[in-house]
């Protein structure tokens, strides 16, 4: 326990994750909005790791299987996410190629790595530096949704390119796998508990509880 910064959990208080009201955890549900109260999200690390493993496994078929199949005048071409990106790169549409590379390949991978790192820090396997890691956590939560872009592109192309014998597009299994990756990493980020990082830090540097436990002062700013 760090004496300078009292923890709500040490007093048996829990901040509601929906409305922010602080109430004793023994109440069970938030008296204001009815959300279940927890000191820490239950089984946070276990859930995050499980969801991440599932996402990592799905990540492989999502890039190997075609996300859509284009039939143009009898010619059948299977498009994967990577081949779609390469087409843009070859035709000189570099900004779009970079956007697709970032959204579909880089972000899911970075998210899995970042969350693994966060889980390792929260369990004490690596030294936690909560301020940097907190920023990392916030960043992964913010970026994850942009990976959905390829799924939307498939949806749009499949429905608009239905030109009979001339050209038609059907979705492929890769699209489902990729949507799975995006959703699983989003759920994994949501189930992670950033407060565990600070708990870890306090366990490592226990300060003598000489000062009375008092609420910390506020910094006001715009």
């Amino acid at each position: 326990m760090n004496s300078r910064f009292p923890k709500a959990a040490d007093r048996g208080l829990a901040g509601c994750r929906t409305c922010g009201k602080v109430s004793p955890v023994t109440m069970g549900c938030c008296p204001r909005c009815g959300t279940h109260l927890h000191l820490r999200k239950p089984d946070s690390i276990r859930n995050t790791v499980a969801l991440m493993i599932a996402a990592t496994i799905l990540y492989i078929p999502s890039h190997l299987l075609p996300i859509m199949t284009v039939v143009e005048l009898g010619d059948v071409t299977h498009n994967t996410i990577i081949s779609g990106m390469m087409t843009f790169w070859r035709t000189g549409a570099y900004p779009i190629a970079i956007v697709i590379f970032t959204a579909s390949i880089l972000i899911p991978l970075l998210k899995i790595i970042a969350l693994s790192w966060l889980c390792a820090a929260a369990t004490g396997k690596v030294h936690p530096s909560p301020k940097t890691l907190g920023r990392l956590y916030w960043f992964t939560e913010l970026l994850g949704r942009w990976s959905m872009i390829d799924i939307f592109v498939v949806g749009i192309l499949v429905s608009i390119v239905q030109l009979g014998n001339y050209m038609s597009i059907t979705p492929g299994l890769g699209a489902i796998a990729f949507a799975g990756v995006v959703l699983l990493t989003m759920f994994a980020a949501m189930s992670f508990e950033p407060r565990l990082l600070w708990d870890r830090l306090d366990d490592m540097n226990p300060a003598a509880p000489d000062a009375p436990v008092e609420a910390a002062t506020l910094e006001s700013g715009s």
């Binding site: 910064f5 009292p6 956007v99 608009i160 407060r195």
Partner: protein, 221 residues
């Protein structure tokens, strides 16, 4: 005298608070417990330990949230009626609406993807904008609409799943992909959804979570 004026002013710019002895606020990131006195309009309180946002006092929060979410709802209706992508290929013209995109994925046997598109681009923005106006408009007159607590909760749950901006970028990429096959251009729906994106972003950043829940709590009593 000066103290009295500032106290009066503070009561003017702040919202009615539920009766409590001491207000506490716990940081969402590091769980540090703070005493939570009201802050002036336009100011925010940040965690003394990690710097995370604790709560804020946004000017005209309810008015801004209702106005922007009403605009978002109206634009959403426009966006569903008009196509967002129009393609001229040889002799036929194809128009694509959002519902059409979700339906054709389902017709191809990819129900899961169709439902995902349906949820992320139609249900989540509707819950967000519709829920906000349902909760905020009566609250401006000090009333809580029936079921307002549940609606407000769902509004916050749907927030991370609102992917209108990602969808718009997807439309842009599709347009570039199709440009070599056919003559494709944006329809009114695209611009309407761009408006939805801006309005929901403005509404979400304008709403003051602390004020919303405090007012709901007071209105319920």
């Amino acid at each position: 005298m000066k103290g009295a004026i500032s106290k009066f002013r503070r009561s003017m710019i702040s919202w009615p608070k539920p009766r409590e002895d001491v207000r506490f606020s716990a940081c969402h990131y590091c769980d540090t417990l703070h005493e939570a006195p009201p802050v002036r309009e336009g100011k925010s309180a940040r965690c003394a330990r990690c710097g995370g946002l604790l709560y804020e006092n946004q000017p005209a929060s309810l008015r801004r949230a209702s106005a922007f979410s009403l605009a978002a709802l109206m634009l959403m209706a426009l966006g569903h009626v008009f196509p967002f992508l129009i393609m001229d290929a040889a002799t036929l013209q194809k128009k694509l609406t959002l519902v059409g995109a979700a339906m054709s994925l389902m017709a191809d046997g990819f129900q899961a993807l169709g439902i995902a598109i349906f949820l992320f681009t139609m249900v989540a923005p509707l819950l967000l904008a519709g829920g906000m106006i349902y909760v905020c408009l009566p609250l401006m007159f000090g009333r809580a609409a029936p079921g307002a607590f549940l609606v407000a909760k769902w509004m916050y749950i749907s927030e991370p799943w609102n992917m209108v901006e990602v969808f718009l970028l997807g439309v842009l990429v599709s347009l570039l992909k199709l440009a070599k096959v056919a003559d494709v251009h944006f329809g009114v729906g695209f611009w309407a959804f761009a408006g939805v994106m801006l309005c929901t972003a403005a509404a979400v950043s304008g709403i003051d979570r602390e004020e919303l829940w405090d007012r709901l709590e007071v209105a319920k009593l």
